[in-house]
Symmetry: C3
Subunit: 136 residues, 3 copies
């Protein structure tokens, strides 16, 4: 945890640089700090995955609408302030990246942050240790 | 909100017209009315996204099973009657579209409606305003 | 229900046999038994769907990180022991399949089990009846 999953209308792949958006969103998540100034999300555990839909239908279907849904799933128990900061960081990065499209296209963006309420959770990673801090 | 995400075994793309199913499901969602007769979902905010799985395993794997999972995520706070009406509209549209396959194939359909319980929610759309009603 | 959805970095498709992993995970789910020794998941209702991301960003992006997220959604109301057994079966099967990659690659695996809290649920299947047991 955490991860960000993007679900979107496929035409966005032609309209903007989606790999760059993935990187930008990941960097935005890594930059979030908590009330004590500490990095909220561990570098080795932060992921963005983007999925263009094979097929879609948006609104009344009469125009070439673009739609992008961003969902962050993060561990439960963070403060409301941190949850809000995460959402704002992600939404801000997405809006900045998509700004040119808002001038020329009909586009909808929704950003939601969920707390996980899983009944089972297990991790096995050889990425995390790369970023483990040495003890002071 | 709302959106409907379809996850399904890839062979369905050859067995039925999935873009048409997307449109039919979107229309079914737009046609749902609440107890007062008002449209439940705003036209500009209703989306269907369909995802064939790259790989899958179903049941015992001995036949060419087809599987389709439909998940609607809608804002929390709607009445139980409206939630039920949404589910029935979506399930009914899916069953009608898939009826020919039920005659000839082994196929499973699951429809679920979730209320979102997000801790952060933001929207930025140039689609919504297209459908804004003029003040009376 | 239940289903298992895999979201992962696309490079995994070149690094390991993902269809085989789907089958192995499905078999692992079907093998789970409850406290009374009964099969937890009905054969005809158990599904694994795998989705490589079209685009992704992982951690600091400086290496060819692999990432795999497995999410099981099962009906609510199972005992904590059964939920734990499901998670361990899935995580164990995934770790066993991925073991060679842990030797050679930077890879992260997360397994989570969610209880569904849907407000509407409908199923229509011609797979389930294939596995219905004859009355004793």
């Amino acid at each position: 945890m955490p991860h960000l999953v993007m679900l979107y209308t496929r035409a966005l792949d032609d309209a903007t640089d989606m790999p760059a958006l993935c990187r930008r969103l990941c960097d935005a998540m890594l930059a979030v700090r908590d009330e004590a100034g500490a990095q909220v999300f561990p570098t080795g555990g932060t992921r963005v995955l983007a999925y263009p839909a094979a097929h879609s239908a948006v609104a009344d279907g009469t125009r070439d609408y673009l739609f992008l849904y961003l969902n962050v799933r993060m561990a439960r128990g963070r403060s409301a302030a941190v949850q809000q900061a995460v959402g704002e960081a992600v939404a801000g990065a997405a809006r900045a990246h998509l700004a040119p499209l808002y001038e020329s296209r009909h586009i909808g963006l929704t950003v939601q942050v969920d707390e996980g309420h899983e009944v089972y959770d297990a991790k096995h990673s050889t990425i995390h240790p790369l970023f483990a801090k040495a003890a002071p």
